[in-house]
């Protein structure tokens, strides 16, 4: 049985059902992200686990104990908020020690634990400061230390990086992950940022319309999306229409050219299916003769080139529509000029068939 078990969770606000039968089992020490667009119900699920919202139906169990009816202060769950939520009237050390003081831990033990937590987050000298004297990143690290100090059974992170600037966000997410691994604490992380979810998590739950569309490891979610929504929400996607020529053997035609897919298709012969391609599986070829040689390739005209640093995002106009592809930056190979006539090539095994 999972350490944190959410079964059949539902939540309605009046006539609006925000969470529709949500099931999830989280193993002890696992880091699971709830990923989805605004309004998909991810924060509501987190708030139900924390005890701030009462489920309309369903149950929440931690280590086999049903906590559905317990108040938030009885659950021993640590939570980090988007807005830091440090107590402005308390110093950093007092903030970190707050939960221990409430629990009646002795002053000596509290001081030791606070020092340990401040060392863990890399701010051992900041104990006497007030929150307003810290940067956003430091405040969020203190919030993390405060949540961890009372040794909670589960750690909940509610978009903790959203209010930070891009560089700190990247460094702090790896810090959070390192601390989580070190302590082995079961963690649920809510985010709408797919990069955060994919880079930090053991498993990702992609939510859509109050349900979990897919639960899986980041590699699986990205490369084998279970639904059209997951495919489109996670990562950038090019979509093409194809006509099925042999469903069992996975043969289709795209713009009249035959393409052998890596899987059978659940559609009848002559039916039109949607294919999806990640930008990194599309290759740009200067040799347009490819097309006439019979290899699968689409004639393309470069429509735009965006230099992003390590990666160059190219958009090419084809007869099947605009296709985006990514090139690695190489100082000795400048990107193609806009308007250049080229060929786009990809393998049938790399194509995702949209359900």
């Amino acid at each position: 049985m999972a350490y944190l078990d959410l079964s059949g969770l539902q939540k309605s606000f009046g006539a609006n059902q925000v969470v529709k039968s949500f099931d999830l089992g989280v193993a002890k020490g696992e880091f699971v992200s709830l990923l989805g667009p605004s309004g998909c119900g991810k924060t509501t699920v987190l708030r139900m686990v924390a005890g701030f919202e009462t489920p309309t139906a369903g149950a929440i169990r931690i280590d086999g104990q049903d906590v559905t009816g317990q108040r938030p202060n009885q659950r021993n769950i640590g939570m980090v908020f988007q807005a830091y939520a440090l107590f402005p009237n308390l110093t950093v050390a007092q903030n970190v020690g707050f939960g221990l003081k409430i629990a009646g831990v002795s002053a000596k033990e509290t001081a030791d634990r606070v020092a340990e937590m401040l060392a863990l987050i890399g701010l051992p000298e900041m104990g006497a400061r007030y929150p307003f004297q810290l940067s956003g990143g430091q405040q969020q690290r203190v919030a993390l230390a405060r949540a961890l100090a009372p040794r909670p059974r589960v750690l909940l992170l509610d978009e903790p990086l959203s209010a930070l600037d891009a560089k700190i966000r990247v460094s702090l997410r790896s810090e959070i992950r390192d601390i989580q691994r070190k302590l082995g604490i079961t963690t649920i992380f809510v985010t709408h940022d797919q990069e955060e979810a994919l880079s930090m998590s053991d498993r990702v739950v992609v939510m859509n319309g109050g349900r979990a569309d897919q639960v899986g490891a980041p590699f699986e979610i990205y490369n084998h999306p279970a639904t059209r929504f997951v495919a489109q929400f996670v990562g950038t996607l090019n979509t093409l229409d194809a006509v099925v020529t042999n469903a069992a053997r996975g043969e289709v035609t795209v713009q009249g050219q035959p393409l052998q897919l890596g899987q059978a298709i659940a559609a009848g012969q002559g039916a039109t299916v949607g294919l999806a391609l990640r930008p990194e599986v599309v290759h740009l070829e200067a040799d347009t003769a490819l097309i006439s040689r019979g290899d699968f390739a689409l004639a393309a005209r470069i429509a735009s080139v965006d230099f992003l640093g390590a990666v160059i995002r190219v958009k090419a106009q084809t007869a099947a529509g605009v296709i985006a592809l990514d090139l690695f930056n190489r100082p000795d190979a400048p990107p193609p000029p806009v308007g250049a006539e080229m060929a786009l090539r990809f393998r049938g095994q790399d194509v995702i068939v949209l359900g």
Binding site: F52, R71, M79, F98, F132
Partner: protein, 260 residues
């Protein structure tokens, strides 16, 4: 021309507000014929009735502040957190003491809580003191409510409450250790305003027949010459001291500085 007009307006306002005060101060110092002295102040301070009434009013003011804080802070907290739709209603209710004359309120109290009523508070001195404190709390309600409401609006109430709850705090702990310290400056503002109101209040104390400072002021005004002016100056000084304390409390509140 515009500049001259502005200065003229300010000059007029200063003269209008301060000239009577200066006149009153000067008069209060003229008790000894032919020279300025503090005789009127000495006379007032030495009057046992002054000491008794002033002490009584200070005590009542302190009790009113405690009572007001205990009633207003949890109420505003709960309305802001759980019942935000009730805020317009609360605004209306808390404005009523400014609209309904104190004499109407006190007659209502006397009618409701007289010796032949179901709760005969006016039947004993302690009961009447309690009634007077409730009356003072009602008079101070518009100021206390607004001060606390403004203070709570300045903090992220919901998130701080949830953060404290997730760390194991119950409602009383949340209020006492998280919310109250963070709105202390606002509460102090409300407290000093309450103090200033209670110290000079006449109608409630006179009609409930309690030995408060307000009725003493009126009595002194009718029976003495220089002392009423001295008392008025002292009352003004006390009120201004309260206002300065509000400013000082704001200034020395470390954690309310703007974040960087």
């Amino acid at each position: 021309m515009k500049r001259i007009l502005s200065w003229a307006t300010i000059g007029f306002a200063v003269v209008y507000f301060f000239l009577p005060l200066v006149g009153m101060l000067e008069f209060s110092l003229k008790m000894r014929r032919g020279e300025y002295s503090l005789d009127a102040y000495r006379s007032v301070m030495g009057d046992p009735q002054f000491q008794a009434t002033f002490g009584y009013s200070v005590l009542m003011a302190c009790l009113t502040i405690v009572f007001g804080v205990l009633v207003v802070v949890p109420t505003v907290f709960w309305v802001r957190l759980k019942l935000p739709r009730l805020r317009p209603f609360m605004e209306f209710i808390t404005l009523l003491p400014l609209v309904i004359p104190p004499i109407v309120i006190v007659f209502g109290y006397i009618r409701l809580f007289n010796t032949s009523s179901w709760l005969p508070l006016t039947g004993s001195a302690l009961g009447t003191d309690f009634l007077l404190m409730c009356g003072y709390a009602v008079l101070a309600l518009p100021y206390m409510y607004r001060a606390v409401d403004t203070g709570l609006a300045a903090i992220d109430l919901a998130t701080l409450t949830e953060a404290a709850q997730s760390l194991g705090a119950g409602w009383i702990t949340v209020l006492a250790r998280v919310i109250l310290p963070n709105v202390l400056v606002a509460v102090l503002s409300g407290a000093f305003l309450t103090f200033a109101i209670v110290i000079g209040e006449y109608v409630f104390a006179a009609l409930l027949d309690r030995p408060a400072f307000g009725p003493y002021l009126v009595w002194a005004g009718g029976n003495k010459a220089y002392e009423p002016a001295a008392l008025a100056v002292m009352t003004f000084a006390l009120t201004w001291a309260c206002m300065m304390l509000i400013q000082l409390a704001t200034k020395f509140s470390k954690h309310t500085r703007m974040p960087r």
